[in-house]
């Protein structure tokens, strides 16, 4: 599929000398939901800032639907809507005025019917004449989303859209995002709630210390997640796996020879555990304890980031 955003060789070093992005290469596919995960300070917001034109990159290029975001910034930015992480809103404006202002900034002619539709879909219609400062945090978040959607963008950046937002609003928001995706809008989101990324995303990218350390289809990741491990602690150490035991392809022996690990797919019809245990008994292998373990996306994520910090993965 053709990429709608292409980021190549992108680096950013702040005036303080902080190296926020290091040679980022990333393609965002047309129409997908891409979740960018990473710990605080990993460079997520900087990356979004560079793509949207708020931050000047130190080197590298970004093209948005074929338009360079520096030399052809008008065409590039017209396609993009941005919901920033911070709740940055005017205080004294009404909801209607601020959303209309955003549309005007993009040079679009007035379209009250469209703005009405957005406000209604975000449950802001009743508040349209209220001053923004009188709204709750969750409502302000919705206003920011409405502003970002006001000019009918083809690409939407959501930087931590659910931070500090209650469960109900989160559900509403994800419904809006799903509808947008169905309408063909490409969505790039960052979140700290990994289960949200799991629910929503088509692909997942992990950024740590200014580097993209993983980009993968969510399905492929979920397959990894679907795997479970059964660990058997043996009474007597083994030097090698005995021949003829059931499922030996999925079995591994620990270095010390005192643990057998069986990896299986929880989604499969039969896990083979019963047959494995029977087979072990037949072979006279006895065990004193057993445990099972499933790794979550969160664990994979934490593991990746941790490895990266220790320099194991580069």
């Amino acid at each position: 599929m053709q990429d709608i955003i292409t980021i190549s060789g992108l680096s950013k070093t702040y005036a303080t000398g902080f190296n926020a992005l290091k040679n980022i290469n990333l393609g965002i596919r047309r129409g997908e939901i891409f979740a960018l995960l990473g710990p605080n300070g990993a460079g997520k917001t900087t990356l979004i800032g560079v793509v949207c034109g708020i931050i000047n990159p130190s080197s590298g290029t970004v093209t948005v639907d074929g338009h360079d975001n520096v030399t052809d910034f008008r065409a590039a930015r017209e396609l993009i809507g941005l919901v920033p992480q911070e709740l940055t809103t005017d205080a004294f404006e009404s909801v209607w005025a601020t959303v209309s202002f955003s549309r005007g900034l993009f040079g679009k002619s007035k379209n009250p019917a469209y703005i009405e539709k957005i406000l209604k879909s975000l449950s802001l219609w009743d508040k349209r004449n209220d001053k923004i400062m009188t709204l709750s945090g969750g409502m302000k978040r919705r206003v920011l989303i409405a502003k970002a959607l006001s000019h009918e963008p083809k690409i939407l950046f959501l930087d931590e859209p659910t931070a500090g937002v209650d469960v109900e609003l989160r559900k509403d928001m994800w419904q809006v995002v799903r509808d947008l995706r169905a309408a063909g809008v490409t969505i790039i989101l960052t979140t700290h709630y990994i289960e949200e990324a799991e629910d929503m995303a088509d692909r997942i990218g992990v950024i740590s210390n200014g580097e993209i350390i993983l980009v993968e289809e969510k399905k492929a990741l979920m397959q990894k997640l679907g795997k479970k491990q059964l660990t058997l602690q043996l009474q007597e150490k083994l030097t090698a796996l005995p021949a003829g035991i059931f499922g030996s392809a999925q079995l591994s022996l620990s270095e010390a020879g005192d643990e057998l690990t069986y990896t299986y797919d929880t989604q499969a019809e039969r896990t083979g555990i019963t047959r494995l245990l029977a087979s072990l008994t037949e072979a006279g292998i006895r065990f004193k304890d057993l445990s099972t373990k499933q790794s979550s996306l969160e664990e994979i994520f934490v593991g990746l980031v941790h490895q990266d910090k220790n320099g194991a993965v580069k």
Binding site: A15, C52, I54, N56, I80, L82, E86, G104, L105
Partner: protein, 253 residues
């Protein structure tokens, strides 16, 4: 050019003015009226004439300039500083607009507001003293040029400022003293020779002098020099703004 965006910014800023109508318009009108009472009636009655013009009438152009300069700087600096302060500047930076459009929108709105105020003060002064405008076209030209130039200066201050104190510092510590010393209330000719020379380093002298000439055809300096100095100041502000936007100074990391 994205004129839709210019219009959006201009309207947004003018709406902000509309919301603060009382403090925006009432305050300058009241303070100007007080000047007329104090300088025109109380003190002015003991000063027969200045450069052949009745003293109360003589100070009208200076008073208008005083408000025009202060309001232009304050409106424009606040207009661009506030989005920086609240963070809503992200929207301007990520919209398909160039800095030219941002400047036209903000400076245009700030200049419009101060021109309206200038005209209101002019109207107010008719209530107190006789006013004669010899060259209305030039009067308007100086009014607009000065409002635009000082709105540009205000815009620069708004971008440079990283706190509310700095927003106040320039108008209070530089513009007000320079205006008072720039012949708002007197002709430079009444100063001792040494101070006359010092005065000519004050750019505001040229603005007030030119503006007063358009009213009463009396001027401290040649009107062509006044116009030239105003344009030079305008060019300097434009050059600084061009540099700010080229480098992203205090706007983009």
């Amino acid at each position: 050019m994205n004129w839709g965006a210019v219009k959006a910014i201009y309207r947004f800023e003018m709406a902000r003015t509309g919301r603060t109508l009382m403090q925006s318009i009432l305050a300058p009108v009241i303070s100007t009226s007080l000047y007329f009472v104090v300088f025109g009636a109380a003190i002015g009655s003991r000063i027969p004439e200045m450069e052949g013009v009745d003293y109360g009438s003589f100070i009208v152009p200076g008073l208008i300039m005083l408000t025009l300069l202060m309001q232009s700087v304050m409106n424009a600096s606040f207009g661009i500083y506030f989005p920086k302060f609240t963070g809503t500047i992200y929207e301007l930076l990520s919209a398909p607009i160039s800095f030219v459009e941002i400047v036209i929108g903000y400076v245009g709105a700030a200049a419009t507001k101060s021109i309206i105020l200038g005209l209101i003060i002019l109207a107010t002064s008719y209530l107190f003293v006789p006013v004669r405008i010899a060259h209305p076209v030039w009067m308007i030209a100086f009014l607009v040029l000065t409002a635009v130039t000082f709105s540009l200066l205000g815009f620069i201050i708004g971008i440079w400022a990283d706190g509310f104190e700095k927003l106040q510092v320039v108008p209070l510590l530089i513009i007000t003293p320079l205006t008072f010393l720039g012949g708002a209330f007197y002709s430079v000719n009444v100063l001792p020779p040494f101070w006359q020379v010092v005065t000519f380093f004050n750019p505001i002298v040229y603005l007030i002098s030119g503006f007063r000439w358009s009213f009463y055809e009396v001027a401290d300096v040649n009107v062509a020099i006044s116009l030239g100095m105003t344009l030079a100041f305008l060019a300097a502000c434009l050059a600084i703004i061009w540099w700010i936007f080229r480098t992203g100074y205090r706007l983009k990391n």
